[in-house]
């Protein structure tokens, strides 16, 4: 289990990180390291980052989240960001930050459902 300020939980083959504190630059950096380490350790197929508690997300944090998702992808793990608030989404696009190529879901439940659907797809592809 990562010892950083943001707990990362493992549910089946999915990792769940719920961000409940304001993200300062140092916190984001250590979060990124923790997540990647955890993926390496567990070989998780999916990562869900719940940001429903965040009232603001600045461009640095957005970029770091996007980069973390890209890095996870390189390790074979897909990322879903769930629960973004309307005001956060509006600010990000007004800053011209569209977070291309990142999966999002309305709620944690939907995020989990997304993974369930995907793993079914991939298992049926394999069989």
């Amino acid at each position: 289990m990562a010892s950083g300020p943001i707990p990362i939980l493992k549910i089946g083959r999915t990792l769940l990180a719920t961000i409940q504190i304001e993200l300062h630059d140092t916190v984001v950096d250590s979060f990124q390291a923790d997540v990647l380490e955890e993926i390496e350790k567990t070989g998780a197929s999916g990562l869900i980052v719940d940001i429903s508690a965040l009232e603001t997300v600045d461009s640095y944090v957005a970029r770091m989240l996007a980069n973390t998702a890209k890095m996870a992808k390189l390790m074979g793990t897909g990322t879903v960001i769930v629960g973004m608030r309307p005001a956060v989404a509006a600010t990000l696009v007004r800053m011209g930050y569209f977070m291309d190529g990142i999966d999002t879901a309305l709620s944690l439940e939907e995020g989990l459902a997304l993974w369930a659907g995907r793993s079914k797809e991939s298992s049926s592809e394999n069989s």
């Binding site: 879903v80 960001i81 769930v82 629960g83 973004m84 608030r85 309307p86 005001a87 956060v88 989404a89 509006a90 990000l92 696009v93 007004r94 569209f98 977070m99 999966d103 999002t104 879901a105 309305l106 709620s107 939907e110 995020g111």
Partner: protein
């Protein structure tokens, strides 16, 4: 009389003791004027009826102003009010109660829709009438008459300022109310089906409205946990780079929330302009007709519109 919505102009115009002082100072109304005015009270009582008659001679002589006084009883009532108003000028009390009374006069004129030009025009005659009586009163001593007229004129202009302020405040109030109504009407989010929302956009989209559309769309998507938001732009007359950019941003923001948008109502001319302008809209779902958009939305949430089978259909009726 219907008086459900009567705004408090004392509050709107921020009329308190210090504002009253500032106004009196600017109109150069002081103790000397008040004394002179109070001394003219018997003069006022003697001549008020004639002055009022003279005023209404002008008002009733022009069709535009006459239209406001359709019958004899109305005319008698307003003439009586005019006399009360006139005597009020010489009452000696020029405090907040006086102001409240003057605001009532302004409100009354505004409510019946009397335009300021008639109001101000009538005042011009009023001053002339008063001047003539003053000259008589002071037996040709022009200096005394001029001094008295000066004081009366100060107070009358002081009064007129309230009436004009009331006119403006009333118009602003109406405008604010209309704007709020328009804002509300401009973003009607409709629930089409479980987790599918529709926002028909009608009319010109400027920056302020675009912001409001984005805000409403995002809040509604989260509140209703919508999987799909259909934006129908069939009612938008011109889609230029700016409008396209706003729609694009809204789509991107909806995607960030974890939902999707479908853009419908794209006419041939809109399609042509958008491509010619080089706006990148390939990243969003688009359809020309709303019905096709709804079908696409249903397929996204895993449903579809299917024809009733004959067997099931006959059972329903």
């Amino acid at each position: 009389m219907k008086q459900l919505h009567q705004p408090d102009y004392m509050e709107i115009l921020k009329l308190d003791d210090s504002e009253l002082k500032r106004r009196l100072a600017f109109f150069e109304l002081g103790e000397e004027d008040f004394k002179r005015l109070t001394e003219l009270r018997s003069f006022a009582e003697r001549w008020t009826h004639e002055i009022t008659e003279g005023l209404y001679e002008l008002i009733m002589g022009q069709p535009e102003s006459r239209a406001f006084f359709p019958d004899q009883s109305t005319l008698a009532r307003v003439k009586k009010m005019q006399n009360t108003y006139f005597l009020g000028l010489f009452s000696g009390n020029y405090d907040l109660n006086y102001v409240r009374d003057r605001l009532r006069v302004g409100t009354a004129h505004e409510r019946i829709g009397m335009p300021p030009k008639l109001y101000l025009g009538a005042y011009r005659r009023y001053l002339d009438l008063i001047h003539a009586r003053l000259l008589d009163h002071f037996k040709g001593s022009e200096t005394e008459a001029t001094k008295a007229l000066s004081s009366i004129r100060k107070l009358i202009f002081f009064d007129m300022a309230f009436a004009i302020d009331t006119y403006i405040a009333a118009y602003l109030e109406t405008m604010t109310r209309h704007q709020a109504a328009i804002r509300e009407l401009s973003t009607p989010v409709i629930k089409v089906h479980d987790r599918i929302l529709l926002l028909p956009i009608v009319g010109t989209v400027d920056t302020q409205r675009a912001h409001q559309i984005m805000e409403t769309v995002l809040v509604q998507v989260v509140e209703q946990q919508a999987r799909v938001m259909i934006l129908d732009i069939a009612g938008v007359p011109v889609v230029d780079t700016k409008v396209a950019d706003h729609i694009l941003k809204t789509t991107a923001a909806v995607q960030l929330l974890g939902s999707q948008t479908i853009l419908t109502g794209i006419s041939a001319s809109v399609a042509r302009t958008v491509v010619q302008l080089g706006v990148e809209i390939t990243r969003m779902h688009t359809r020309s007709k709303l019905s096709e958009g709804i079908e696409l939305a249903l397929s996204i949430v895993g449903k579809k519109i299917a024809p009733k089978s004959n067997h099931a259909g006959s059972g329903d009726f």
